[in-house]
């Protein structure tokens, strides 16, 4: 179990968030190629009729969901329970929404470091660590004020 990476990009394929939880290849180019591949794979899928799961490599499948113009993608192990990761994504987006108040792409673009802070309160090393929205938001508002 565990998330290998979290990715967020828009419909044009511009990356808005990226977090690798597994041992990253020392070659950044490979990561970039992987992202490009993932974008191609997911953006070509039929939004309405196809499932939100797609196999990506020998060790990874993607669980993704589109919110308005943004795709949120998680890479998980082949044997993992896909539906629960869809819940992960949804919870993450709900927290973003509550934190920023009706979140939009620009919030994420300009406050990416805050989004990472949110992500890091929800996931640790690729494992989910907190599921209570209330607790998360309370904690985040404290952290946000520590600036």
């Amino acid at each position: 179990m565990g998330v290998q990476f979290i990715l967020c990009f828009n419909k044009q394929g511009v990356v808005r968030l990226v977090r690798w939880f597994d041992v990253r290849s020392s070659d950044p180019q490979r990561s970039q190629d992987a992202i490009a591949q993932i974008y191609r794979l997911i953006s070509s899928r039929d939004h309405k009729h196809q499932s939100n799961f797609v196999e990506f490599s020998d060790s990874t499948k993607l669980v993704y969901r589109r919110y308005a113009g943004l795709y949120f993608v998680m890479g998980v192990d082949l044997l993992d329970d896909e539906p629960i990761y869809l819940c992960h994504i949804h919870l993450f987006v709900e927290v973003l929404d509550a934190f920023f108040g009706n979140v939009c792409e620009l919030d994420i673009v300009f406050n990416f470091y805050k989004v990472y802070m949110i992500m890091d309160e929800m996931f640790i090393g690729g494992e989910i660590q907190e599921i209570s929205k209330d607790m998360l938001l309370e904690r985040l508002s404290i952290l946000d004020r520590l600036d």
């Binding site: 179990m1 990226v18 009729h49 629960i84 090393g125 209330d134």
Partner: protein, 830 residues
Amino acid sequence: MGSSLRSFIKDVRGAKTLADERAIITKQSAKIRTKLRDDHLPHEKRRVNIQKLLYLYILGEKTHFGQVESINLVASDEFVDKRLGYLAATLLLDESEDLLTLLTNMLNNDLHHPNKYVVSLALTSLGFLSSPELARDLYPDVENIIKNSRDPFLLKKALQCAAKLIFKDDSLLEIFNIEDITRVLSNHSICTHGVLLGITKILQSILLIGLNGNKEEEDGIDYNNDILAPLSLLLREFFVRLENLNSKNIEPGYDVQGICDPFLQCEMIYTLQLYFQVGELLDSKHVLGYKDNFCDLLTRIATNTDSTKNSGQAILYETVKTIFSLNLNQPLRVLGVNILAKFLAGKDNNTKYVSLNTLLKVVPQEPTAVQRHRKFISHCLQDNDVSIRMRALELSFAILDGSNLVELVNELMKFLAKQDEDSKDLIIYTIDHLVDTFDTHVVKDESWKLDVFLNILKLVGPFINYEKINDILIIINNTTKLFDKSNFLQKLLSLSLDGESMEISDDNIGWQLVLVWCIGEYGDLVLNGDNKNNTSSINESSITDYLLNLQECYTTTNHKIINYILTTALKLSIKIFDAKNIEKLRQLILNYADSTDLTLQMKSNQYEIFFNQSLSVKKTILETMPKFEKIAEKSNNVKGSSKNLISNEPIDLLSDLLNEDSKSETKDSTGDNVKPIDILEEIFGEKNDITQPLKRGEEEEKSTNHPTVAITNADVILPSDATKIYDSSSLNVYASLLSVSSGLAHLDLFFQAKSLISDLQTFCAVPKAQKLTLGQLYPSSTIKASQVCKQSLKVSGSGKLKLRIKLDFHLNGSSSTTNEQFDHKFNESL
């Protein structure tokens, strides 16, 4: 260009063209690099630069030059610096970096920091960067937090970290103390859902180590008694908590679509699954004693969880996976299959996908229960999502057996009817498996079987590859009743010859190949049969013209079908009576007498010789194919062309020539059947003046670019570097790889007889992406005991080098043929 992060982001976004954007990024990147080198830069500026750098990281730019600076920030006393520093470190560093050593010290300090937010940052970062070295150095600090902290926020993170560290370095199991866990569990004020999640993670790590092997035994730890036994004391507690969670309706704060904390439920089910997996593996009575309780609990979860929402489905799915991974009792397995079937019946493609995937895995465990839901599975064959169709297809074949064959095949035909070029992979998959299905299942109603293939050809003929066409031809050939065959051809013909019908497109090559072959084999049945006058459009002339037209279409474009047409023209010539049509066929064959394609040229010339033989001789040669057993997947041409026979039965002149050149002729196809050889020899004995020059041309071409050393010695000696690839009671086979380069490999096969072997024939097949050129057996196809004969192979193409080899020979002079077959994979790739 502004200096704040915001204005930088704005600038990048505002770039009109890609080139503009690149210019801005390059400039800013250089600027950051210079700034970071400046030791006197104020902290605030440093932060802005690192923030910009992180933005560049998200955009996929090079950021390695910021690694040191991120460590510097971590070292700062200010919280804001630390926070950004840790973020940068987790994004920019990886586990292999030397800089991690620098970080270890800082993490160590921060884990003891009086400010809990700093401790929290350090834990989060440790969770990311856990390496075996960090694990050993920092585990005591993490353990310290687990032991002493009363803050759930820190506790949950520390537990998660400990889980990671233990997994990285399993020798930590020695110092891990289960009581730390039990104490946390029993303290309600600190045991939040997040903390429970952390506990499941630690348990999972420990159990996974148990599953992955018993390295600990060397270190003096008895996993079963020292680890698993105390751990099993938590089982009862886990059952109660999971049951409570599952039966709770509304728990504010943890409710997801009406389900209470599906995340924790899934993690707990998974943890329990690991418990019992390890328990089974080590046969631990501590754990297995609880198995019945566990089964009861799973039954309750499976029955009570709402399956209409995604969160409930996640729990059910985890439950089903557990049932099957532990292969629990049959009622539970059936319950599991039924849950999956319920998923299938729904509209949500996500659940369908998950369900099909899981059903595929559980078919072997519970075949009948899965078969019961075949209606739903067939329904998924019509889904819009190709990945669902693919899985439904796989599943259909997985549950297919004698009892549902007709039903499922009919469903598959419906499926094929709806596919287009985009789903070529699915079509090929279906055809491959249908052919296999008909190979393994005896179908009583052969006319139905042929109808199935007629439909397949009609629907997806253009997509079927040649190999499968051959398999289909074999199936047709092996049909017992002549009536069925003639009926089949009748149907093919009426669809093709009826000018009005648009059902068969002109590029349906699969259809055409089969039709051409069938005309050659069974043309007379249709022309002379009882059903002759059913369709007026089928007669000698129309069939002849069909062949002629087809031949014209493909003259230069497809030699494969021309080969078929030539043989069919020859065969048909003895089945029809009208001299005009016969002459047309002869002319057709003659068209290729000087073709640039050597095979066609040779065929044309040889067939011309046949054509001039007396009818009685021709009839013997051109008999309908006998029933034959399928051999590997290799023959390109089902009909043994006369060319192959030459190589199998060397004629003196030819073999002399071949020995000289140390190279045998090319065999792009191997003959599967042996035709009356004596007659052929008779013919070629007189006429080899025709074939010989052709051969020579070919040989010279080959020998110039072939590096094999010429063999002058009649005795073949087994080279020392040859590896044995096959060993049977009658012979050994060795292979020696002479050269491998991209796209081309040369190798020699050596056959060492254990007792007298005569008339050895070798048939080789290579993967689809490769082409094989097979040399002749040297020195002869008869090998005395312990003698060796050799054969050279040239493989071109791409992919892994592997061979399937079939050997036919007579042992100890016996008249019956012995068959042996084996596969060999080389380590090399082309």
